[in-house]
Subunit: 549 residues, 2 copies
């Protein structure tokens, strides 16, 4: 039997486009002689559809879309992921299903058994877990048809009591097909490949794995669909961060000798390289799926906005990103000259708009209230907010989307101005720690200078008062980021951190800053997720609380 | 046996205060001769602790807090709710537990079986459901000790296959104790009382029910703890929206003849009255738990900011709410005069700060880019954002928290300026539809004029361009709110709405506005939740999607 893997970029709720893409791939598979073409988990609706799943109308459209796709599956079969109604009274209303389409109709349905409900996942909010196990027979082959997480319990995951493949093995399948929506983080591809290989080996079966690719707001799906032989060897790995397609004969699984997609990343730079490519895809898809083409950002002369600009320029094209330099009386000479050098490197458009007039207008306006009180945080924030007003005015007037340029370290400790530099439609590097931003700048410059050296080497500063440096108010980023990583990614508490050798005063201050700034993060744009624990939907914290604060 | 019900207002993660409150109530119960005192679900940690539950350090502090409370339970017993470690390898790491404290130690633990995972609830993200059922014996009485949702399946809830009380009845208990964290919405008290009465009647047992009271950011817990006799009659209902305490002898459950708390609400105004009191509590607790006393808001002369001011003044004291009038060249005469009349009624502080200087400064600053393009949305938003900058500057300078004054209808259709009038630490009426805001204004004036009549009767306008009216861009609020209610609260799709008789064009426009403005709601402050379906944690939607948009 010949199986086609169709790794596509879906758009949540966009049934017309999703169905059209799926039908195009079915034609392609047919023309390449495939018997069966496999699409990803919830391909028809896009993943994750979240509370759209609570609308009967949405589920009805899913059903109509599947029926339309089934209509073209006459001389070929297809597997598509789609939410379906649970026909029983008992249990949740829906299943997360793999529909097997053949002979012009939905011939079989298999439902997901293991429903992730941690980090960014909320599947138990919507879906009833499957408890009946049956293989699908097609053209004399027995297929163990599974959905994503169903392969993730090899018997050692305490979250689940069922091992779906153990159940399906009772019917002696010839192969495993798994349809997935497994989002990227810089560790995920290794963990995923490892799990898939272990499944193939444990059951002695070839495995055909089809993942989503593309961004759904902050969630980035990296693709990397795979064919693994019965010995657990990866025969094929589809592209990362773009659509791809391959056809394999189940009787002779041999490598096509294409280089593995990850071999494209330079030695020692795999992590940063993957993060960079993920972010580029994130920006590109965010704009394309919203129907926008042009971005705007404030270019400060610092490293965060420089890296953001480089990513956006690669994603949207250099001429589609407008950099705005917004100097004030506190801006250093080099903030403008360094920015202009970068813009010259990219040949991208820019504006220079001083905020001095606006700042003075607010000073004058607030004089009766502020009187002669000393310059302080309020005045610093006015500058950041005046910049915000100008950027949003240009955005509104000319149809740009504003890119947020904050990094993860700043977002963690609240080092930013709400309604000022924390504005934006999407946060590009909000899941990238400051120390990683430096590494990414070097990576961006790997083939020649895009980001001027001075932007990388000068000490970080918000330039909101004379001679301000980040290090005036924050611990050294090398230390800060290690503490933040242990607290955010690894959920270490203060005692554990102190035991690891971090200074107690710095630890307590850092955790207090993280927890007291939850209110700011609540109002920030979605942040493209590249780590195993990003701010946003995967990290849900109370705002009005008093823990480590 | 004498049982005390302690209905307290906890603070998430504030172990010191929570333990201190609990110990004070234990002393009080002891002095009133109680044998047992009952506290709410997750009383020790506050509810909901959300992802703090993933920190070992947080769980350790919960354990230490319970041990400290147990230490004072020598001559009296207590039931407290707390997250506890699941000692088994299999299953999630935690239980949502009711600890029975006696003889100075944790004598028994009973765990929650039915874990809500819908709307604002995420309990299956953290907790393993209990599957073993055992009563607790104390002083010769057999107690069926249950946690909140455990009583909500009377055999007709498809979400659950277990009926915990059916299991516990096998051991012939003498009474039911239920500890709860059941958040308010304007329907919830009736549904809750009905469920509790049905349980008492079904099992023929008296029921002691202790709920949380107080606000946890946007979640409002209304209290209303109850004692119900074995015939299903409510013997006692504790206060709504404040702490309360009562002691009952299980052998003679008779009413104390206090008037039922809900009888305090005027005929026909129960819903609006409850919403109003819930919002007052929400504002009060938000400030108190953050350690702030003073609020600031922009008073526009419209009904939304007027109602917000009235609520905040009742919550914080008239003198603690600073109203700022921010007129522009487009402001009507009455926008200032109506506002001043209301301020006079409340004798609360105010400032008048024109935004004209700031607006002109931005016009001048942007002249090279905007050239002679006609006045439009960008210019309207500059005004709203200039107001935002001024309010935040005062907030930063003098330690006010900014109150957001948007209503639910505006939030739904995106009729507001991000980083402008959508700013604030907390949204006071973001879960109140515009038509309900009008009702609430009348309710606020029930004992004399607080909100001037002209504010209630004039046509709503944002006053961002000459002669602007809300009705220029939005359907009539009477129609809009009915469509929104059916779409948001009842999840009706476009075909269902059209079938209900709504105009197709208005329906499609409204749903499109709701869905294309998800990006704005993502960045708005938490909204005090008073309806069964509020924006925020209980309604999770994709941003980059294309469904009904």
């Amino acid at each position: 039997m010949k199986i086609a893997l169709a790794q596509l970029n879906y758009h949540i709720g966009n049934f017309e486009d999703n169905v059209s893409k799926i039908k195009t791939s079915i034609s392609k598979a047919r023309s390449e002689g495939a018997d069966l073409v496999v699409f990803a988990e919830l391909a028809v609706s896009g993943y994750p559809p979240r509370d759209f799943l609570e609308f009967d109308d949405f589920i009805r459209r899913c059903r109509l879309a599947v029926e339309e796709i089934a209509g073209v599956c006459t001389d070929i079969a297809a597997v598509v992921g789609v939410p379906t109604k649970n026909p029983e009274f008992m249990g949740k209303d829906l299943y997360n299903s793999a529909c097997f389409l053949a002979d012009g109709k939905v011939r079989e349905m298999r439902h997901k058994s293991l429903l992730p409900n941690y980090d960014i996942f909320d599947e138990y909010r919507y879906f009833e877990p499957n408890k009946k196990f049956d293989i699908v027979e097609y053209k004399g082959e027995k297929i163990a048809l599974t959905v994503c997480e169903d392969l993730w319990n090899l018997g050692n995951d305490p979250l689940y009591t069922v091992i779906p493949m153990d159940e399906l093995m009772k019917q002696q399948p010839d192969m495993i097909i798994n349809i997935a929506a497994s989002p990227f983080n810089y560790n995920q591809h290794r963990i995923r490949t490892d799990i898939l290989k272990k499944n193939a080996r444990k059951y002695g079966l070839p495995l055909f794995y089809v993942n989503h690719v593309g961004a759904q707001t902050e969630l980035l799906f990296d693709g990397g669909s795979q064919v693994i032989d019965a010995q657990g060897k990866v025969v094929e790995e589809l592209a990362y961060f773009r659509e791809d397609f391959a056809v394999y004969d189940t009787k002779e699984l041999k490598s096509n000798n294409r280089p593995a997609p990850l071999s494209a990343y330079p030695q020692g730079n795999e992590k940063i390289g993957l993060m960079y490519d993920a972010l580029v895809m994130g920006v590109k898809n965010y704009f394309a799926k919203l129907g926008f083409t042009k971005a705007i950002l404030g270019l400060s002369g610092g490293i965060d906005s420089a890296v953001t600009l480089a990513i956006a320029a690669e994603a949207l094209g250099n001429r589609n990103v407008l950099s705005v330099l917004l100097p004030s009386q506190f801006s250093s000479e080099h903030s403008v000259s360094d920015s202009l050098e970068m813009i010259k490197n990219l040949n991208s458009p820019y504006e220079i708009i001083s905020i001095e007039t606006a700042f003075k207008a607010f000073e004058e306006t607030l004089k009766p209230q502020f009187k002669d009180l000393p310059f302080g945080l309020a005045e610093e924030n006015i500058q950041a907010r005046a910049r915000g007003v100008i950027l949003m005015a240009l955005s509104n007037k000319f149809g740009y989307i504003l890119l947020n340029t904050s990094n993860k370290s700043e977002a963690a400790v609240g080092y930013g101005t709400l309604y000022g530099d924390m504005n934006g439609g999407i946060s590009v590097i909000g899941d990238v720690y400051k120390t990683e931003v430096f590494q990414m700048a070097r990576y961006i410059n790997r083939n020649g200078s895009i980001i001027p050296e001075n932007i990388i080497t000068k000490p970080p500063s918000a330039e909101l008062r004379p001679n301000q440096k980040d290090s005036d108010s924050l611990p050294d980023y090398e230390i800060l980021d290690r503490i933040l990583f242990q607290y955010i990614e690894n959920r270490k508490g203060p005692e554990e951190l102190i035991e690891m050798g971090f200074d107690e005063k710095i630890v307590r201050k850092t955790l207090r800053l993280v927890n007291t700034n939850e209110y700011k993060r609540y109002q920030t744009p979605p942040m493209l997720r590249v780590s195993p624990k990003a701010f946003g939907m995967g990290r849900r914290m109370p705002i009005v609380a008093k823990y480590l604060s």
